[in-house]
């Protein structure tokens, strides 16, 4: 059984605590900040889901935003157009994204890295084409407007209350990732990434796991899409088109193949647009520069960099204790 270190537990507890009291510090009525907090949640889920796929299993996806879009649109169509209750609607979009993820999984079993990257990119283009052209269903280029706020038993959720729902869902996804990673399944994922042939010869059903991880990761992205729809109440294809690069930046900058990495990445990169408001026009380029710098100088991201710093310090501490 994997044992979590005491310091790690403390860090997690402090992070969750800060996340929970944040709305009260910033003001529960301050929609600007609350919206940023909620964006951490859905981007965090997205980054974790991408990390599971790319960081752990080594399957490159360049169109992960598409699953977020499908999740969001499915939720919007089910609740507004068909008048479903929000719970079955979320469930419905999870199922749909899971199944479409399996479809990509089918491709990942058959194709090598670059071919798969191409397929996922193409898939996301197709999704945005459908969204733009099928206006009767999706609102087309004008976007999908008027998604209802979260309402339970007649109680309409305030934005900060929605944040707690989103936070709870994020923690749930984090827990699922944690359990998957530190288990037989997670070991299989990593084995597949490092040496697929050896993995197969150790009894791992390589294609089965690739197939499944695509589904799981897509469903997580779908959930993020639902939260997005609930928060913004408006959907349009180009937001999701752009989010693919943003997500990749978050995952890479935070550190792929580690549990904390994507969360750190989300917090850092998610805050950038707010800090760089005057340069909003050049934001994509800034992401680009950041990505390249991180890949060049911090191959394991911020998390990996911090970890090796701490390890080094620990080692020198031990050395200084040993040598008088």
């Amino acid at each position: 059984m994997h044992k979590t270190k005491r310091e790690t537990k403390i860090v997690i507890f402090v992070m969750v605590f800060i996340a929970a009291v944040m709305p009260f510090i910033l003001g529960t009525k301050n929609n600007y900040f609350i919206n940023i907090l909620i964006s951490y949640c859905y981007y965090g889920i997205m980054a974790m889901s991408l990390n599971l796929l790319v960081g752990y299993t080594g399957q490159i996806s360049l169109g992960h935003g598409a699953f977020m879009a499908i999740g969001g649109y499915t939720y919007a169509i089910l609740t507004k157009t068909l008048g479903w209750h929000f719970l079955p609607a979320i469930f419905g979009s999870l199922v749909l994204t899971f199944l479409l993820g399996l479809l990509i999984g089918l491709a990942s079993c058959k194709l090598h890295a670059i071919f798969l990257a191409m397929t996922t990119l193409g898939f996301s283009k197709v999704v945005s084409l459908i969204i733009i052209n099928e206006g009767w269903l999706t609102g087309g280029a004008n976007g999908f407007v008027g998604i209802k706020k979260l309402t339970v038993f007649g109680h309409r959720f305030m934005n900060y209350q929605l944040y707690f729902v989103a936070l709870a869902l994020t923690l749930m996804v984090a827990l699922i990732c944690y359990r998957l990673i530190y288990s037989k399944t997670g070991r299989a994922f990593q084995a597949i990434r490092t040496a697929p042939i050896a993995a197969a010869s150790m009894g791992i059903n390589v294609n089965g796991y690739k197939f499944l991880v695509c589904g799981i990761s897509a469903a997580m992205a779908g959930l993020a899409g639902c939260i997005y729809a609930l928060n913004i109440n408006y959907l349009s294809a180009d937001i999701f088109d752009k989010s693919s690069i943003l997500l990749l930046t978050m995952t890479v900058v935070g550190g792929m193949g580690s549990l904390f990495g994507p969360i750190i990445g989300t917090l850092v990169i998610g805050t950038l647009p707010e800090l760089l408001r005057p340069f909003a026009e050049y934001l994509d380029g800034i992401y680009g520069v950041v990505i390249i710098l991180v890949v060049l100088f911090m191959p394991h991201g911020i998390y990996g960099g911090m970890k090796s710093l701490i390890d080094r310090k620990r080692k020198s501490d031990i050395l200084s204790e040993v040598t008088p």
């Binding site: 059984m1 994997h2 699922i176 359990r179 998957l180 288990s183 037989k184 399944t185 070991r187 299989a188 990593q190 084995a191 490092t194 040496a195 042939i197 050896a198 993995a199 197969a200 010869s201 150790m202 009894g203 791992i204 059903n205 390589v206 499944l212 799981i216 193949g257």
Partner: protein, 256 residues
């Protein structure tokens, strides 16, 4: 002695090249069976066919009386055939212990749902898996390095770790692809010891070996391949003096 693994008229063609050509080979249960031959004789290709990585152009692989020719690698492993690789394929970023735990993959039956919901059954399986992996590390003498990254281990230990990982799948037969390649004499002796221990454990061994001292000293029976064909199969003493084998190794012209 009963036959555990058998290849019957197995051939593998790559384009026009016959990497393996109509090879019949029977491996008896409990034996240490050697597979030797000059470079390019088709030894590793034969390993790949048996372990399910390649599907042979013709012929069958029979394990415990069942035809396993078309089985996928992970199914073959589950049936009880484990292997190591000529050019070490470890999961470098994982610890030695985790590597061996991956080897035990097919012997635990917890599902993904069980993992997500953290069922008691799954927790128990994890503990058992870890214990088994530890015992395998102990078996090959790597207990002290269980938390080291596999990629950071020295070369010799990597080879031994691969064997531990293969053993963790509880095989009936283990296929070692040049276990002693690149090892110094004392490491080689240690490895021979391990191979005997594996045999005494009740596991059949099929090994490709280039080091003739090892092959002749350890193996009960040796099959010789040359250009994809089986040219001899017998006990080491006879193989050593077989004219065809000597020709294959030294080249005909050198003898004349």
């Amino acid at each position: 002695m009963s036959v555990l693994l058998q290849t019957s008229k197995v051939s593998m063609h790559f384009g026009g090249v016959r990497a393996v050509d109509l090879v019949d080979m029977s491996i008896n249960s409990g034996a240490i069976h050697g597979l030797i031959g000059p470079n390019g004789a088709g030894k590793t290709t034969l390993f790949n066919i048996i372990s399910g990585l390649y599907i042979p152009t013709t012929g069958n692989v029979i394990f415990e009386g069942k035809d396993i020719t078309d089985k996928k690698p992970h199914e073959v492993t589950k049936l009880g055939i484990a292997r190591t690789f000529q050019n070490i394929l470890l999961f470098d970023q994982m610890s030695a212990l985790e590597n061996v735990m991956v080897g035990h993959h097919s012997r635990t039956d917890s599902t993904i749902l069980g993992t997500i919901f953290h069922t008691p059954k799954m927790k128990k399986q994890e503990v058992l898996c870890k214990d088994y992996a530890l015992s395998m590390l102990d078996f090959v003498g790597l207990s002290d390095f269980k938390n080291n990254n596999a990629g950071s281990l020295p070369y010799g230990q990597k080879r031994v770790l691969e064997i531990a990982r293969a053993l963790a799948s509880k095989p009936k037969i283990i296929m070692l692809d040049e276990p002693c390649a690149g090892m110094n004499p004392s490491e080689t002796d240690y490895l021979i010891e391990i191979i005997y221990k594996i045999r005494d454990f009740g596991i059949t061994v099929l090994m490709v070996e280039h080091n003739m001292r090892v092959a002749m000293g350890v193996c009960d029976i040796i099959t010789v391949l040359d250009h994809g064909k089986k040219i001899a199969e017998d006990v080491p003493d006879i193989i050593q003096n077989d004219q065809q084998v000597i020709e294959a190794y030294l080249g005909k012209e050198n003898l004349e």
